[in-house]
């Protein structure tokens, strides 16, 4: 039966379709060409303005000295390794504390009022204080209590970062939890799942997916704020660069540290974009608008 119906033959595009495709291809190539050209022109203008500025020779000497960069590279990269370690531990700490805070804020019922208030107070306070101040207060204040033995500066730096960033992440997660439609909770509870299991198996996975871009944004932001632990005396990339600057009377190590921080965060930024694009593709099948 189907053999008599049109379209059952192998698909062979018509002349009209081929012409359309050719036109679309040409249009795409044209727009790529234009974007490349405009980028090149833009870059050229910037370069010309920079190079022709009166102080360019001095600035290039003090900020872009290849020799100094090469010489200071080992120390700066060694410092960056400390940043990576602190970042790794902080990220895990923030994930745990942030989730606990977010869940605490969504608890319903009068029994949980103190916990809810505590969590709300915590996020209010720590989102309000500049990270730098938290670092000073934790890094110089808590050791003063002499509860522990002497701990390295990066230890207190990590604690301060966790305290500060958990507050932000908790708010992002809470927004995600609130954005999951109540019918999902209903459906889970109707299956007999407890409040906790509903949260863990049904609500949180959807919540995290909804706020992944915002979470990744916080992560990238934390990645560079890790550099602030240098104020406590930890020899991280920023501090190492500072030492190199002091010994060479040249600012190139700062530029080097900046470039390294960008390179460190770049894979995560791309990963975020990719994840977001993939989720969008999955949720909006087809559709050209």
């Amino acid at each position: 039966m189907t053999s008599s119906l049109p379209g059952s033959a192998p698909f062979e595009p018509s002349a009209i379709e081929l012409e359309r495709r050719a036109f679309r291809r040409a249009r795409k190539q044209r727009s790529i060409l234009f974007s490349v050209l405009s980028t090149l022109v833009f870059a050229a203008v910037i370069a010309v303005v920079l190079v022709n500025s009166p102080g360019w020779s001095r600035v290039s000497e003090t900020f872009f000295d290849v020799e100094v960069a090469v010489k200071s590279f080992p120390r700066v990269i060694e410092g960056l390794w400390l940043n990576v370690q602190v970042l790794f531990v902080s990220a895990i700490g923030v994930a745990i504390l942030g989730t606990l805070l977010a869940v605490a804020r969504t608890l319903k019922g009068p029994v949980f009022t103190p916990i809810r208030l505590l969590a709300a107070g915590y996020t209010d306070i720590f989102r309000g204080i500049p990270v730098l101040l938290v670092l000073y207060l934790v890094g110089f204040g808590i050791p003063g209590l002499e509860l522990t033995g002497r701990m390295p500066a990066q230890f207190w730096g990590t604690i301060a970062l966790i305290l500060s960033y958990s507050a932000y992440v908790a708010e992002v997660l809470r927004a995600g939890i609130d954005a999951v439609h109540p019918s999902q909770r209903l459906a889970a509870r109707s299956l007999g799942l407890s409040h906790g299991k509903t949260l863990r198996l049904v609500v949180m996975p959807q919540a995290v997916r909804k706020v992944t871009p915002a979470l990744m944004n916080d992560f990238v932001s934390m990645q560079k704020d890790v550099g602030l632990i240098s104020v406590l005396g930890a020899v991280d990339a920023v501090r190492a660069a500072q030492i190199e600057v002091a010994s060479s009377y040249n600012f190139t190590p700062y530029v080097l540290a900046g470039v390294l921080f960008v390179l460190l965060s770049w894979p995560f930024i791309r990963l975020t974009d990719w994840l977001t694009a993939r989720a969008q593709k999955r949720e909006q099948v087809g559709g050209v608008v």
């Binding site: 009209i16 036109f23 099948v285």
Partner: protein
């Protein structure tokens, strides 16, 4: 059948829409396999067929919401501007054509209403007139209120969509689609998400639109309604038009075995 006689006498009874050999695939899966369909001015064409037969996809390709893989879709020009005469057919699948300009000439109503929840009813209805056509707010609201009055929802103009019943929301969605006086109206299973007792009010509105002369292509599962409102019924199966004809012919005397099977299953889902 008197309608068709009138159409012949009508000098503007030229096709509004011509679909020629349209193919559409999602990946390797063919959804439309060579669709040919002509819709005359003031004609109501009803698409029937099982879920996945390609009804919705066909409507989406006509509105350029899906890019076709082969064939052409032609739509009558609304006016003589941009290098053609009014009423002349224009190939809207040509990539040189601005899709926004085409979509402005076609009204679409969706299964799930798709009203904008952050705008009240009158703003929903007048949005396209104000922001696409460029009518002043005062004028757009006067016209919008007149339409809402016609469907008995003038008192809901300042309400937000979530305060309305499903039937009321869908009627507002229809009014939103016709507010800019489009050449062609596409209705995509507009009653499928409604409670049975709310279906009637929406279908009554469609009958009114037909009486007022709208050109409509609609996909539906409501066979009794298709019989009452359609000038022509088109049965789709696996992306192919199996049979098309007057409602009497399709429902009372189908020529093809597939059509008979489909109608039997719809009338008696349990096959008893």
């Amino acid at each position: 059948m008197t309608a068709s006689v009138e159409r012949v006498a009508d000098p503007v009874a030229r096709p509004v829409l011509e679909v020629r050999g349209v193919h559409k695939r999602f990946g390797e899966h063919p959804v439309l396999r060579g669709i040919d369909l002509t819709v005359d001015r003031h004609e109501v064409v009803v698409l029937i067929g099982a879920s996945g037969s390609g009804k919705s996809t066909l409507l989406k390709t006509i509105n350029l919401l899906e890019q076709i893989d082969d064939g052409r879709i032609l739509l009558a020009r609304a006016s003589a501007d941009d290098g053609g005469t009014a009423g002349e057919l224009e190939d809207i699948t040509d990539p040189r054509v601005d899709p926004d300009r085409v979509r402005a000439r076609i009204g679409v109503v969706f299964q799930h209403y798709n009203l904008f929840p952050h705008m009240n009813v009158i703003d929903n209805v007048t949005l396209a007139a104000r922001k696409v056509v460029g009518v002043s707010r005062g004028e757009a609201e006067r016209a919008g209120l007149a339409l809402l009055t016609r469907i008995g929802l003038a008192d809901k103009a300042k309400e937000f969509p979530d305060r309305l019943s499903g039937g009321q929301q869908q009627r507002v969605a229809i009014v939103r689609a016709i507010a800019t006086d489009p050449e062609l109206l596409l209705l995509d299973e507009i009653t499928s998400a409604l409670d049975p007792q709310l279906v009637g009010e929406v279908l009554d509105l469609v009958r009114e639109l037909k009486a007022a002369g709208s050109t409509i292509v609609m996909a539906t599962h409501e066979m009794s309604f298709a019989r009452r409102v359609a000038d022509r019924v088109v049965y789709l199966k696996d992306g192919v038009i199996v049979e098309s004809g007057s409602p009497e012919q399709i429902f009372d005397n189908p020529q093809r075995e597939e059509t008979r099977e489909f109608l039997a299953r719809v009338r008696d889902p349990f096959g008893e």
